[in-house]
Amino acid sequence: MSALSARTRVAVAAGSATGWMSRVTGRGAGATISGRVINRISPHALDELAAGLRVALVSATNGKTTTTKLLTAALRTGPDPVASNHTGANLTSGIAPVLAAATKPGLAALEVDERVVARVLDPLRAELLVLGNLSRDQLDRYGEVHAVGAAWRKVAEAHPDLHVVANASDPHVVYAAQPARTTWVRLGLQWRSDAATCPACGALLDWSTDRFRCPQCGFAEPDTVNVLDGDTLVLADTRVPLRLSLPGQWNRYNAALAITAAVDHFGIDPQVAADAAAHVDTVAGRYMTVPLADGRRARVFLAKNPAGWSEVLHWVAGTAASVVIAVNARVADGKDPSWLWDVPYELLRGLPAAAAGDRCLDVAVRLRYAEVEHAVEPDPLRAAAALPGDEPVLLCTYTQFSALYRKFGDGDA
């Protein structure tokens, strides 16, 4: 840390103190508030803190925390130290303390909020940007998907030499990443409800084949030799089996992106990268188990928006013994839970279920119209304890999840 200015050193010290205060007073995990203090005291802290680091940024609506953790795991098989913020503290202020604590020279794999990419890319001198997907999220706060995609595209236009690893199957991501030096991976896109119109010209996209195409302007899914094929990632001529510990098809998307980035940009061996990713089994509390009153445990999933819920419901319907739907609509969740009606809860018919959370009545009415028999119990752990099965599944929105993580988290960050 010797190269840092006195001002930045003071800023980081003050930030760490604030973070400690935040943790011991139980107000939060400390990363966001401490970063805010750092930025206030030393506005150029990020430039200074990133000196000596090769920075990769990861962004997406869904999966950025997991993708960052998988990328970090793959990079740690190499010789360089790797710093990472895979705790979900992904705003400008959340990144600073991670960089301050990083070993330099070294690598940094950083998750960044979709709307923060443009602000941090230059000060961090990021050399790689990994872009996963864009879909509606917290409509009351953040507005439209198209606006986020357009902001990403401006970043790419301003940095034509920036290396991007991006999902070729998401029209918003393709539109955003096209101007940069992009390595495409074909992941497939299950949630298409936010990609009906062409991001380039506004016409209706043709989804009649598995690959999108705009009949008006020709905007289309780019060709690529990198394809996720079931449980195998194909990188040109190399076939890499994934065999993840993490559940669900959506984590294969995350792993495919992370491994492609590690291989293509950092030169990690594909199988070595995949083996490292395969060992990751929880990600900042996602997929952790929590104790129930009767001695059983429930497995916790985080789902933040309709695309995420849709993915996880398909998995739950085929796998779980019972399920709790725990929904809050606080500021951090988005105060409008109307997305409940865009998600196919009908998939849960026949599965023992419960509606929970601050908005358990909204969930109860949604499940009634889906004809899913359910109990109603605001407390998610009590709701889970009343359900059958060895390991009930607990599906949570963000603030429900973070309350459980604060209480039962294993500090895997």
Binding site: G202, R330, K335, S338, A364
Partner: protein
């Protein structure tokens, strides 16, 4: 009701374009509230790009983002004659947010660009200086009870002098043009800014719409819908200290 021979056709128009805020829920509620009463009903999805038929019993137009709304407007204009035939022939028009704007004459964007609607009602919308976001409570004319919804829009809608609003805004923005009203009400036509979606939260409103199609309805247990409605009305009408406390609690997490 018993005289009806064919299934009630609930049309969800352009769900890919006009479905940003759970608008599918309104269609699902209408269909299920028919079926649970033994009335045959089907959900008819009209995909974007397809012509809208004149044979629907309910035309549901939902909310959408700017680009999709432009696309939807073009499709609605192309099918205007069929929609009007369907409506005049006994069908119901139920339009929410962007859909409500599009059944009026026009939507004028912040940059002055004019998006032409289909003019089923005498109403014009202008882009406002800010978005109206949050819980809304509306008192409609009897026999409808107090309504709850969630709004998220930048439009300011002014009704023509011959058009009745859906109701008076108790809290929230609604039409937002200074009239203190929300939506529009005409024969077998309803427009509103209330999302939520609005019909799952307001079972009496759903049944009101259905009565326009099928006449008298047998009763249906709506305990859970009414509990949700009461909770949302309570949340939407808090003022002063209790509102401050509620906002504080919502900021936790």
């Amino acid at each position: 009701m018993a005289t009806r021979e064919s299934a009630v056709r609930v049309g969800l128009v352009y769900p890919e374009l006009l479905g940003t805020y759970g608008d599918r829920g309104n269609a699902l509620v209408l269909v299920q509230r028919c079926r649970w009463r033994g009335i045959d009903a089907e959900l008819v999805e009209v995909a974007a790009g397809e012509p809208i038929p004149d044979s629907l019993d309910v035309y549901l137009f939902g909310g959408g983002e700017d680009d999709p709304q432009n696309m939807a407007a073009a499709g609605l204009r192309d099918s205007r004659a069929a929609i009007e035939r369907g409506w005049q022939g006994g069908g119901v028009v139920f339009a929410v947010c962007a859909g409500f704007q599009l059944i009026g004459h026009s939507y004028v964007a912040a940059d002055g660009a004019v998006l032409e609607g289909i003019g089923l009602i005498d109403a014009v919308t202008n882009a406002g200086p800010s978005r109206l976001i949050g819980e809304v409570v509306v008192d409609p004319a009897p026999p409808l009870p107090r309504l709850t919804g969630f709004e998220n829009h930048g439009g300011r809608t002014t009704l023509g002098s011959g058009v009745a609003p859906l109701g008076r805004v108790v809290s929230g923005g609604g039409n937002g043009d200074g009239s203190g009203t929300d939506g529009a009400l005409a024969e077998r036509l309803m427009g509103t800014y209330l999302h939520g979606p609005v019909l799952p939260r307001n079972p009496a409103l759903a049944d009101h719409v259905l009565r326009w199609v099928v006449g008298d309805l047998p009763p249906l247990d709506s305990t859970w819908e009414e509990r949700l409605r009461a909770e949302r009305i309570a949340a939407g009408t808090k003022t002063g200290l209790t509102k401050w406390w509620q906002d504080r609690m919502l900021a936790r997490g």
